[in-house]
Symmetry: C2
């Protein structure tokens, strides 16, 4: 059974509030005699006392935990991001509670988000890009405690990935290389038939640069490498039929699917990656991709999350970070 303060107190022959101060309170260490201090600590050690987090939180209403409603961690981008974020928060004395939400099943998604909302976290970071993945209503309750990451139209804390700028750089690069018609390869949006935001942006930007964009879609989710690869064959046929000379991927997963399914005769047609996840960075032969710095994202998001966590009242001011993309050629 769990060892409680009282048991330690009894064994050490002091009042349990004394034990509490000594073990779980920073300034307790200077208030007691050397002897008591030592006896209590060693007894606690022996008995294997571990503070009951639930009780602590109930009492203090602080959790030292930041929730992260991330995209599916099977997408390496989110795996990277989560780990980096967790590491950063850990150095600041905070824990990360991860609610990776597969975008495959709205019911499960809702449950996962609810997990963060219902649980007390000092602040939560929520990934959004598409309109439909997360309903802001679920999160309304957490007024001022939400940091939006990715793309969002409301909320006082936002870290915005400038996807548009990334796609623009890609378009310019393609134009400068003499391409005239290019493909876009990515997942269908969950809320079919609405196309994904990246797709819409790319079509718009490409047209603006006199490229003739043609969108090719796979039927899997954005993390689903197997479907991305399977559907790749058809995509390559379409590439050929339409005389496309390059393909821009929705993300690195789509890019890898395309790379794996690329027929030998299409080897000369470049695939442009999007995210800069480690595997794609290591790809041989090296490919061109848009990269967002994980470190920048983590720093920005951490700053805002801690601000949100530490300020009781939602701020008037809007805090907005912009993460700029880098085109790696």
């Amino acid at each position: 059974m769990k060892v409680t303060l009282k048991q330690v107190a009894q064994a050490a022959g002091v009042h349990y509030s004394t034990v509490a101060s000594i073990l779980n309170n920073a300034r307790g260490n200077s208030r007691f005699s050397e002897q008591t201090l030592h006896r209590v600590k060693s007894v606690a050690q022996q008995l294997g006392y571990v503070a009951n987090l639930d009780a602590q939180r109930l009492k203090t209403n602080r959790t030292m935990t930041i929730g992260f409603a991330a995209g599916d961690i099977r997408n390496p981008f989110f795996a990277e991001l989560s780990i980096a974020l967790e590491a950063k928060l850990l150095t600041l004395g905070y824990e990360l509670l991860l609610a990776s939400h597969a975008q495959s099943n709205p019911v499960e998604d809702a449950q996962r988000i609810q997990k963060l909302v219902g649980r007390s976290v000092d602040a939560m970071i929520v990934w959004t890009e598409e309109q439909d993945t997360i309903t802001p209503q679920q999160i309304q309750q957490q007024r001022g405690k939400v940091v939006w990451l990715g793309w969002c139209e409301g909320g006082c804390y936002q870290v915005h990935l400038d996807v548009q700028a990334g796609l623009k750089q890609v378009a310019q690069h393609l134009v400068s290389e003499g391409h005239q018609s290019v493909g876009f390869y990515g997942p269908q949006s969950f809320a079919h038939p609405t196309p994904t935001r990246r797709q819409v942006l790319f079509e718009m930007i490409a047209k603006h640069h006199q490229l003739h964009p043609i969108s090719l879609l796979h039927t899997g989710q954005s993390w689903d490498i197997q479907t991305a690869t399977r559907c790749g064959k058809q995509a390559w046929q379409a590439v050929k039929q339409n005389g496309l000379t390059a393909v821009v991927a929705y993300n690195d997963v789509a890019a890898m699917g395309l790379l794996l399914s690329r027929p030998a005769k299409s080897k000369s047609i470049p695939v442009i990656g999007f995210d800069g996840t480690p595997l794609l960075k290591s790809w041989q032969p090296a490919i061109t991709y848009v990269s967002f710095s994980i470190d920048q994202m983590v720093d920005a998001v951490t700053e805002l999350a801690l601000h949100a966590a530490q300020n009781k009242r939602p701020p008037r001011k809007q805090y907005l970070h912009q993460i700029e993309p880098l085109l790696v050629v």
Copy 2:
């Protein structure tokens, strides 16, 4: 601020324990008048009442949460496993608390594990394979509440991945294909200079099959595809120098590193994958790999975890599941 039972009660003009029964207790719904039921519910809705989990847990000592101390989720194997496990537990009314432990930093690792130990979970699932990644002492306290996954020498709940059988199948397959000297490519163990368990097993098994195994190591962690790729070049040189005709990978990450760094002139030398993660399954041209069924693992581990969660006393009996590998050629 948070809305509590008392506030709802006051607004609805009933005692707060009535509200509690109605909202948070399954059998409350039949005990009260239609009118009260309805009024309380709608008031709660309006006020946005959400039960305080910390208080519930403190009181009931049940959390409906299973902890999972997994390996690093940047390794796609663990990303897959975590997601599958979470989905399964969700259908059973349980939540998964993920503590992905990077094997890169013993201090962080300890903190992550502590996160599960300190937090009250009804049971925890702990991945282990190497001796040194997790200190069983940290977990001793949770007697009878721990399901060991991977490989472990103690504990009453165990799900054992038969790595040995997998490597044996690989060895037999290689022998049948006429290979005589083969390489093994994987990470150095964290606790250098102890080699990893898979390496030791492979060397043993290969020798037993009259293969001449040579181990080539990369300096990264088991999830680190970039290092695996970077060190791949040297590995391939060693392959050439030693006249090896095939290489067995520690895991899929190592395999992919090797595949990406494989020089054109070595294209005929097969790389054997180990785990069967989606990307490797999709690889073109297809490669041979050992696969462990995620579903089997999830089912086994879930069964044991729920048993552990629901039985107060640690069982006398030992519960042991064996997960058999499948060689996919």
